[in-house]
């Protein structure tokens, strides 16, 4: 990865710092991974339980899905790192365009 490269030719420079950074990164990834599995389990259980109304389960599952996408993008695809500003901008403007379209279709075409 371009942003993990050291500026120095000597690989031992800042080794300690980089180790610490990597360990932290790893911790974040494990935590989010566990959370994502947990969310998935919740979704499955919510459907399997059969006790809740559909009007409750559907929004909850969708909300959990959105959180998982955010985790995926920011923790596993490195969007929280520096130098991803342009990508973030384009991702969210694309999202905005798509959502406005869907919103319009939902309000004045389909429903």
């Amino acid at each position: 990865m371009a942003n993990e490269q050291s500026n120095s030719a000597n690989p031992n420079v800042d080794l300690k710092y980089r180790r610490k950074k990597n360990a932290e990164e790893m911790k974040h990834q494990v935590v989010t991974f566990v959370l994502m599995i947990f969310f998935t389990v919740i979704s499955f259980v919510a459907v399997a339980m059969d006790d809740f109304s559909h009007w409750f389960i559907k929004p909850v599952i969708l909300l959990l899905a959105v959180i998982q996408v955010v985790f995926q993008l920011y923790y596993f695809m490195h969007m929280k790192h520096k130098g991803h500003g342009t990508i973030t901008l384009f991702l969210f403007s694309g999202l905005a365009v798509g959502l406005i379209t869907i919103l319009t279709f939902l309000t004045i075409v389909w429903l």
Partner: protein, 623 residues
Amino acid sequence: MSTYANKKGFGATIWDYLTTVDHKKIAILYLISGGLFFVIGGLEAMFIRIQLAIPNNDFVSAGFYNEILTMHGTTMIFLAAMPLVFALMNAVVPLQIGARDVAFPFLNSLGFWLFFFGGVFLNLSWFLGGAPDAGWTSYASLSLHSAGHGIDFYVLGLQISGFGSLMAGINFLVTIINMRAPGMTYMRMPLFTWSTFVVSALILFAFPPLTVGLVLMMFDRMFGANFFDVAAGGNTIIWEHLFWIFGHPEVYILILPAFGIFSEIFATFSRKRLFGYSSMVFATVLIGFLGFMVWAHHMFTTGLGPIANAIFAVATMAIAVPTGIKIFNWIFTMWGGSVKFTVPMLYAVAFIPTFTMGGVTGIMLASAPADYQYHDSYFVVAHFHYVIVGGVVLGLLAGINFYWPKMFGTLLNEKLGQITFWTFLIGFHLTFFIQHFLGLMGMPRRVFTFLDNQGLNTGNMISTVGAFLMAFGVLVMVINIIITSVKNEKVGNDPWGDGRTLEWSIPSPPPFYNFKQLPLVRGLDAYWVEKMEGKKEMTPAEPLGDIHMPNSSFLPVMIAFGLFVAAFGALYHMDDKSWTLPIIIVGLLITFGSMLIRSVKDDHGFHIHKEDLMDDSDKGGKA
């Protein structure tokens, strides 16, 4: 491959252009083919005006008139304006940001050839049973019932050329984000580069809805689906939405580069820094964003309901604010400047009142209740020709005059340029100003004739006379180009004498590697900054070294040609002919085979060696 341009034979030159991946040559290809389609679209416009010159005319039949009208709109938007915009972008943007080429030179070439074959395919419909006849918007309720293959040509042709546009857009985005010269921050980019950047983002988001719409239309027409067929449970309004979600950003895709060109021209010939640079950037980005939230103003009368109409009306009117910012900034740029009225500057000055008039009628159309009156009348025709011809075409003519020396190394004749300008401008206003009133008097658009004694005769006659004046202007421009090319008097790197940006710091036309050493950018209008410090050229940002260049390739032509062939198979497939399936397969084999060759063949390009780049000045001068 030699570093020095040799005299080449005709065949070798053709082969060179067929295989080129150089952005400057691709710009010339875009310019030639865009110019050709512009002339074809212009001829169609002349036929329209001849037919409507007098009441009850029978110059063309009703059906043929529909085809001419449809092809005039489609050709002018997709096959003339778009490629001419791309021509200027390709010619100028890499030079303006101090890059040696675009980010993906191969893709650049592929984009051109896809556009070209898509355009040729669309125009072959004239000879193969009739052109599309449902208007350039091709509303599904009409186009699904169009007999013959016209609409299928429209769908497949636009699909192919749409791929090309999307590729070009992505290419420019990546180029501008990654390949700016050292020191060129976003807020030091020239305005034309900024508008190219915003436009490329619009292309990225606007073309997929068109692709989806065309795919659905293709399924409806060719495979018996019913996405838009109301009788079978579909919804014909969905096509209108998809088309305009693309179509409205599309008109900004055309106008924003024109704004960029005019910004360069105003600053250059007022010999002043562009007034309010940062607000210009802000306005460009804002127009880009708002452009996606207003598409339903084309559909006020389809019955979206008062709330939707109100929302889209207000959003539409909001666009007047950033556009107004730009208009005032251009005026303030000229204010107090030492203005030089060259041909590009004439276009720029004429553009301000012309475009403003188009903007004002735009606000009138944006008020939904009033739109019920104007809808589908010649008022609308007048409005969009004021913004597209008065904005985009004037911008393109100005840009072609302005950048002609950078592209070809010769200056277009000033006198002939002025003749073109005046005849075109006067002709334009004659043609379209009167159409506002024709519309308000009740003349509907897209009709092939009108009756006598309705008070429409004089107006239509004036309009036709104006159209002939415009045609005369274009003719003079073609003559101008021929004369200039034959004379071939080469000019230096800064022929206007007041160039502000990087492209004017290198020879005209630039060497194929553009910059021997990447320049160091020390402020907005980088070349001007150096000039003001008494320097003749840019400070280099790197030592002289080997330059890595891409190899030419014939594969882009093959890939595009394969789709062109397959499209014929797909088009006639619904007629139950036996030869269509093999044609589709052969076409796709050519396309995917060429792509496979591209993938598996290692092509590392070549290096221009440092020694070949050195001239006397690098060796410490002549002894």
